[in-house]
Symmetry: C2
């Protein structure tokens, strides 16, 4: 189907979904999970994935190739993920607020699906089933647009999911995959006013920027995280070393990993050598990859390391690299963060409550932590049960987006002849 | 100041506001109200308004001229409006959700200001003080950009408001007025990424469309309302006549006025003549302006009236004009609304509960009414105490926007050394 035909099919499915009960959506989700476990579907998906892998070899990195690869276990894990989403409470139809007015009108603010959610993503096939499950659970039709490396895999997965959807009586076009993997289809989604109710780009900074620049449909920015940790003069330094190593090095490729460490000048002469030791020689001795430090001039007088270049405090390294700066106060830390953060996650490590309060009030980010790792910014860790991405914008959704954030609301008003 | 200087000044004020207590913001609001009642400020505002009126005469309609005109009473009413906003509960700092995780993290989802809100509006000077009050109450700096007809008045009002703000110790740049009234400044606001956290256009369809087309900052569409009322076969016809006259003719120039009436075919032969009588001869007999009916072919066989033209079911008349169509069922009414509505407000008049349920579930609008007038879509009528406009989009805010809708949230997480 052409992209335009898919837009129309999804809009039609949205009308059916608006009227579907939670039980019907549930049946569709369980059907999707079952279909993914159907041996014939697994064979089809693995065959398609083998073609994707073959075509991608030599064109993408080994890390990307590993993300692309599917196995029967990974496919079963995708099905399990769908069952976990199915088990969450239904977000649709919840009465968020209710008021009975003096004139007798009963006004209920009621959660409703967004309608059609379009998701642009790159080469991880499991996003296909995750996104479809979250969309359907929240009553939305979804249009998936994946990178060309993963297209055959995604297409086979969507074929299985649709087999499952059909068992519920819902239209299979509740889950659509865009066939065109060129820029043209991404642009078509960004400008599909009247068809796409919410666009969620999941991917690199370039994709996010393109959406912000070009989208004429409502769009949520996700993901880019230049996360800061500020070590205050009263910080518990042992805990600080644990937290920073965790935030930086437990999984450097993710958006909630620390990229910048700010250290209070009063403790920098003591703390920075310990930090360099912990992230450098200590890690090497434990057989772990050491972290390269990029130092501002003040830090460079205290420990060895690479001098920070002009972009190092504005870069999402996603690697074993940490920019380090010495600051004179919590206020200077807040100012640095205001100038350089992407609004994702920041932490203060301190035993001074007034500093913690100032930091949490003044830092304008989705998640602001006191005395723990930034790595907790995650739907599962926040108790949402799932996640469609992490919003770094302030409109509608901020931080991990769960099912509630995939809903809008409408006011339903019951009257008995009232006029104004 | 240039527009760029104003953007920077507002961003600086936003940082001060993020740390200001509710008491300080309250003091600023009461200071603003007092300053508007200061006789010297009233003289300045009336003098500026007289210049605006003089310059506008002959260039804008009499209705617009009346909206532009200020009197001491109208200025005192603006001050009273500010005091009413001040008396509302503080929306900032509310804990919207709180969870204690098994690992001991305490996660609080906390309401915070958006930051800088830009409002583009036309020639009503009272919007200047209303918008400033709502923004400040919700902890936001605001950048106001009014039409050139009202600029001198707005400038004098902002000077008074700033006199009031200074008494609180907050920066007076918490309320800024753009000096340039050309398209250039509107475009600058639409593209002020990093400066404007939320853009709210309040005005005609052209302004709204320009913002949707061009805005690169988060934007909320307000206002356009092609509102439908569907008269079902079981409707109480006496109540229906009251409701339709109220929805259409009590104030035709507002966005929650009815523009289209859909009538079930089973009652059309009885109901349409009564409707024509009620909106036509009856109104004339009462000395009121009759409503012109624009009829689809089926309605035209039953009553006299103007045949509907090709655009009449897609026009926000804002006038004593009502488009009328006969439909065969509630499903056909829903389909018509899906194809023609702007998503503002729609009503079903029926005594069949199943039809009411189908209508409220299937109609994808901000407010969906059963057996009452669409005119109730209003912040005051919904019990919000105030209103910054009526959103017709689904992201973030839908329907009347009160103080809660001018806030975002952030997650504040208290830990004791947790790592992941």
């Amino acid at each position: 189907m052409t992209t335009q035909q898919i837009l129309e099919a999804a809009r039609t499915a949205k009308s059916a979904l608006a009227l579907a009960s939670g039980e019907t959506r549930q049946q569709a989700l369980l059907g999707m999970a079952d279909a993914l476990c159907d041996p014939e579907q697994i064979r089809e998906i693995l065959a398609a994935n083998a073609q994707d892998m073959e075509a991608a070899k030599g064109h993408i990195t080994n890390v990307m190739l590993d993300r692309l690869a599917l196995t029967p276990e990974r496919i079963h894990a995708m099905a399990q993920g769908i069952r976990e989403v199915a088990a969450l409470p239904d977000p649709v139809g919840r009465v968020l607020d209710r008021v009975e007015r003096p004139n007798g009108l009963v006004i209920e603010k009621t959660a409703v699906p967004m309608g059609v959610i379009a998701i642009i993503y790159e080469s991880r096939p499991n996003v296909t089933s995750d996104a479809a499950a979250l969309a359907l659970k929240s009553g939305n039709a979804c249009i998936l647009r994946c990178g060309k490396e993963a297209w055959r895999s995604a297409n086979a997965i969507v074929a299985a999911l649709r087999q499952g959807i059909r068992t519920s009586g819902l239209p299979e076009t509740a889950v659509c995959l865009i066939e065109d993997t060129t820029h043209a289809s991404a642009n078509a989604l960004m400008t599909a006013v009247g068809y796409v109710d919410l666009l969620i780009p999941r991917g690199g900074a370039g994709l996010i920027r393109a959406c912000v620049e070009n989208a004429k449909v409502p769009c949520i920015q996700t993901g880019t995280g230049i996360c800061h940790i500020f070590v205050d003069d009263t910080a518990d330094q042992d805990k600080a070393l644990n937290i920073i190593e965790n935030a930086k090095a437990s999984r450097p490729s993710v958006c909630n990993a620390e990229e910048v460490c700010l250290v209070h000048a009063a403790i920098a002469p003591e703390f920075l050598p310990r930090l360099a030791q912990r992230l450098g020689a200590d890690r090497a001795a434990r057989g772990l990859q050491p972290v390269e430090l990029r130092l501002d001039p003040a830090a460079a007088t205290l420990i060895p390391g690479t001098p920070a270049g002009p972009r190092d405090f504005d870069t999402e390294f996603l690697d074993y690299i940490l920019a380090v700066r010495v600051v004179d106060s919590v206020e200077e830390a807040v100012r640095h963060i205001a100038a350089h953060s992407t609004g994702h996650s920041e932490a203060i490590l301190t035993q001074t409550p007034a500093h913690a309060d100032l930091f949490t009030a003044a830092v304008d980010s989705a998640a602001v932590y006191v005395n723990c790792s930034t790595r907790f910014t995650d739907g599962g860790e926040f108790g949402l049960g799932c996640e469609m991405g992490i919003s770094t914008q302030k409109l509608h959704a901020r931080g991990p987006m769960g099912l509630a954030e995939l809903c809008s609301y409408k006011y339903i008003i019951q009257g008995s002849g009232q006029i104004r």
